[in-house]
């Protein structure tokens, strides 16, 4: 008998015990007093007087005993728990195969969930590392189609002055600086920000002091932590010193903290590697644009390069600010027709940084949730199989006085022990898996990173508890029934209870197959979608095509004529390199690079309303770009050196624009304009379409202008080589260095790699969902294998008899497989229904394949059914190979 039990017996009905005790005392005292000669009445009174106040004493005893009993119960519970845990561990040690399968299953299920959650935590739950991050928002121009867009300086100044929702605001623009000295010349992404930028964010420097609202030395610079470490070895004395940017000295005033993760702020949500340097704005505290660093641009309302950051006043919601932004944006557009009819919009900082990560993460979270569900079903099924053998043992324990609750508690403790071990191993799986996951992840998700903190720990604990409940409750209820006579009478042949748990296991297998199928269909859809994306003809011939960026600085960058001279000279040198087939350059590298667009007018057409003029992509090219890219010239001619500064303005258009504006006609000789002041440019050629915005986006209208008539101090070069493009890189570097030793070559990569980056997200998603689908499939196979093995071993006597009666093995095999087929079919039908619903949620991720794609559904269902049947075949074969004579004896 346990000490807990003994003490409980003692405290059973403590009140009566106390009364008995007191009564005995009084009786004995009366007897003694009577023996000393007192009358019974006198003895009665005296005994009670000597005893004191009966009620008070009773009361005290009750309080003391109850308190002690409660404490005993608690201690007893802990004792029981410790016993249960030891019992469970001993049980697992006795069945190492079962324990290993169950723990590995749970570790994978819980680990996958923890890994995904750690990324969800980093991107969506952990507060951004700024003061009161919930009040930080971005403001954008809002196009008629609802898209966010950067704004021009004049409009930005109006917004900053007039928005009443803002407690403070700051503008920023992305620019690139060439850093020289302290090592090789290097192109560094930077941001030009208005002086209050760091005050709005509430960020303090770790060395020196950042600039503040209205107080910024125009030649100062703030270093990001990464650049400071990498380039300056974390040397604090750099603060107060100067560095050379674009050939000019700049005073380093501060270094930012390590956890200042300022991303590249795109109009569309999504974060990637951001600025590593921060410089104050130019004239009027307006962020400098790449093209006109020292120009007064405060009157410019159309150059859309400015991003506006703001801190909301306390109590103002983003929705309220958004309403104000829309109204103000619309009013400004009425007052200033050049604003192009746009309104404005507010996007929260979290949405801005991580909004693009959220949707794929939800898909992944759903997928790993399914994996865990299958894992739980599997372990439940394993426990049910194992429990059948322990039925007698448990029934015996009940017969010996254990309550049903006690047995349930013991079985649940076993489940909890299993899931705890699974969770600890799962945390290790997650730790390892997350780094692998982030290596595969697209840039925005990799930028969010993973955050292992208390929240993740809590999540893992909850996952373990929920799992334990999920796979523990069925077996616990099943085996605590404890129908003693039945269980003991069952003997070697198993009775109703094990038949019942057999039925439950069948249902679990059906559920596992159904859930696995949902995942497989999802994976098939995403894989087909990714394949379709990879097959898309972007219009670019990517074979042996190398790309890199050039960013000019110093005097050469100041005049367009000198920029173009340099580009032509470089192209000339590149083409002269042996093994280089062709070379060309354009201001933006298609697919995932920058994206310039413009409204335009067609000569001879009625002037459209402001904001409703036709829109086209805008590209600036040097002669030879189309040839180097493999873009066919459909009619007319390429740009040429004769299209010089001051010569007649010319443009080329792509086929899509030609079709839109001049269907069935040759546009060569027509004229278009970017403004409504009659600066007409003649269309001299039509080129083939390319998918400038990426494989998933159909070609849009494009206008190409010769660099000689409009250029910027930066250019993307492409070089087609005869052999391996990377082998040509050293020669190309030399060619550039011969022209300018201080000029860095940035973003060197092949066009194929460049396009692969653009496909990183769909590849990541399809890879991961496929991996989780495979995991689900493996677990489901283990599940169905276990159930079939068990059911076959149940029927061995039956098989032996039937074989003895002359039924041949193939017929028996067929009867076993029939049951498996039935289970698989039920699972597949359910799964297809589930998959149809889940696929609907994937629609936004699919390209070139419908959510109802028959091929994906059929392939997944057939694959699953085939593998499930194969898993049954092995135990079935074993059953019919049995020697009937041996078994029946």
């Amino acid at each position: 008998m346990s000490p807990g039990r003994r003490l409980r017996d003692i405290f059973r009905n403590t009140a009566k015990d106390a009364d008995d005790e007191i009564a005995y005392h009084l009786e004995m005292r009366e007897r003694d007093l009577r023996e000393r000669g007192l009358s019974p009445l006198e003895a009665y009174v005296a005994a009670r007087r000597r005893f004191g106040n009966l009620d008070t004493i009773r009361h005290q005893l009750r309080a003391i005993d109850d308190h002690a009993a409660r404490r005993e119960r608690r201690t007893g519970m802990w004792t029981d728990l410790r016993q249960d845990i030891l019992y469970a561990i001993r049980g697992l040690a006795k069945a190492p195969g079962f324990a290993a399968v169950a723990i590995v299953t749970l570790a994978l299920g819980i680990g996958a969930n923890t890994a995904i959650f750690s990324v969800v935590n980093a991107a969506l739950l952990r507060p951004l590392p700024f003061a009161e991050p919930d009040r930080l928002v971005f403001m954008w121009n809002r196009t008629p189609s609802g898209e966010p867009n950067p704004m021009g300086p004049g409009r930005m100044l109006d917004f900053r002055r007039q928005m009443t929702s803002f407690a403070g605001s700051a503008a920023l623009a992305h620019i690139t600086y060439t850093l020289t000295g302290h090592g090789d010349a290097e192109s560094v992404p930077a941001a030009s920000v208005s002086s209050g930028f760091f005050d709005v964010l509430g960020v303090k420097a770790i060395a020196g002091d950042t600039f503040h609202d209205g107080r910024a030395d125009p030649s100062s610079v703030v270093l990001g932590y990464g650049l400071w470490q990498r380039r300056f070895g974390g040397d604090r004395s750099i603060v107060g010193g100067t560095i050379t940017l674009n050939g000019r000295p700049r005073l380093v005033v501060a270094v930012l903290p390590r956890d200042f993760p300022w991303p590249f702020v795109n109009a569309r949500a999504g974060a990637a590697g951001g600025p590593q340097l921060f410089v104050p704005g130019g004239i009027g505290d307006i962020p400098r644009s790449a093209a006109r660093e020292d120009e007064d641009v405060s009157g410019n309302r159309t150059a859309g390069y400015i991003r506006l950051l703001a801190r909301l006043k306390p109590g103002v919601t983003p929705a309220q600010a958004d309403a104000e932004a829309r109204a103000l944006g619309a009013r400004l557009s009425r007052e200033h027709p050049e604003d192009g009819g746009r309104t404005a919009m507010i996007v929260t900082a979290r949405e801005q940084f991580f909004g693009s990560v959220a949707r794929p993460l939800f898909v992944l979270a759903g997928a790993v949730g399914f994996v865990l569900a299958i894992a739980c079903a599997n372990v439940a099924s394993l426990l049910l199989g194992r429990g059948a053998a322990r039925q007698r043992d448990l029934a015996l324990r009940r017969a010996l006085g254990a309550t049903r609750l006690r047995i349930v508690r013991q079985l649940l403790t076993e489940a909890a022990v299993l899931s705890s071990i699974g969770a600890v191993s799962g945390a290790a799986v997650a730790w390892w898996g997350t780094s692998a996951l982030l290596r595969l992840a697209p840039a925005d998700m990799a930028a969010a990173g993973a955050a292992f903190d208390l929240r993740v720990l809590g999540f893992t604990a909850v996952a373990a508890i929920v799992s334990a409940a999920a796979f523990g409750i069925l077996p616990a209820v099943q085996f605590s029934r404890g129908d003693l006579s039945a269980a003991l009478a069952e003997g070697s042949t198993r009775g109703s209870a094990s038949r019942r748990s057999g039925r439950i296991r069948d249902l679990l297998v059906v559920a596992e197959i159904a859930v696995a199928l949902v995942l497989l269909v999802g994976a098939a859809l995403l894989v087909r979608s990714f394949a379709a994306l990879s097959r898309v003809d972007t219009g670019i011939d990517t074979r042996n095509l190398l790309t890199f960026d050039i960013k000019l600085s110093g005097p050469r960058a100041e005049y367009q004529v000198r920029q173009v001279e340099f580009y032509a000279a470089l192209q000339h040198r590149l083409e002269a390199i042996p093994g280089v087939v062709s070379a060309g350059s354009a201001v933006t590298l298609p697919i995932g690079g920058d994206d310039f667009g413009t409204g335009y007018y067609v000569e001879g057409r009625a002037k459209p309303r402001p904001g409703s003029e036709p829109h086209a992509g805008y590209q600036i090219v040097m002669p030879g770009w189309f040839k180097a890219m493999g873009i066919p010239l459909e009619s007319g001619r390429d740009v040429r050196d004769a299209d010089a500064h001051g010569a007649a303005l010319v443009v080329l258009v792509n086929q899509t624009l030609a079709r839109e504006q001049w269907p069935g006609e040759d546009p060569v000789g027509r004229r278009v304009s970017f403004d409504d002041e009659g600066t007409w440019m003649t269309v001299v050629g039509v080129v083939g379409d390319i998918r400038h915005l990426g494989p998933a986006v159909p070609p849009r209208p494009e206008i190409y202008q010769p660099a000689s008539q409009r250029s910027f101090p930066f250019m993307a070069f492409v070089v087609r080589t005869a052999g391996d493009p990377y082998a040509a890189v050293p020669t190309i570097r030399r060619a550039v260095a011969e022209l300018d030793p201080a000029l860095p070559l940035a973003n060197v990569k092949t066009m194929d790699d460049h396009i692969a980056t653009a496909l990183a997200r769909p590849r990541f998603l399809s890879t991961l969902v496929t991996a989780f689908g495979a995991l689900a499939l493996a677990l489901a196979v283990i599940g169905i294998y276990g159930v079939m093995s068990w059911s076959v071993s149940e029927r061995r006597r039956e098989f032996a008899i039937r074989m003895a009666l002359g039924v041949r093995a193939p017929a028996l095999l067929a009867s076993v497989l029939r049951k498996a087929l039935l289970l698989a079919a039920a699972g597949v039908v359910l799964g297809l229904v589930g998959a149809r619903i889940a696929a609907g949620l994937l629609t936004g991720f699919l390209f070139g394949v419908q959510a109802t794609d028959a091929a994906a559904f059929i392939a997944a269902a057939l694959a699953l059914a085939a593998i499930a049947l194969a898993a049954c075949y092995i135990p079935a074969r074993r059953a019919v190979r049995v020697d009937p004579v041996a078994l029946l004896r």
Binding site: D17, D20, E21, Y24, H25, R50, F51, G52, L54, A68
Partner: protein, 118 residues
Amino acid sequence: MSERATTVDLLQGTLATLILKALSWGPLHGYGIARWIEQVTEDDLLVEEGSLYPALHRLQARGLVTSQWTLSDTNRRVRCYSLTEEGRQQLRAEMTRWEKFSVAVSRALQARRPSKVV
């Protein structure tokens, strides 16, 4: 009344020690303990016999004594208390403490008038 209360308060700790002492020769029921205290103290200490029981139950809750129900000669349910090993140790500790205390107090009470008060 007030004199009585003082006596009871004073008794709280002492009573527990006396109970442990009473049980040091073997198991006893509550009345037996009361009788023993009555005899050795000549009826002086135990003003209210009832207060014995809360003290006993507290000792049991602290694990210094245990109890068992037995049947008396008259076939009545009787709760018999006995000392646990912990109780025995506690008794030894209390006795040492008490000796030191009483020696100190006696010495103080028998002291002569000090020659000089500092």
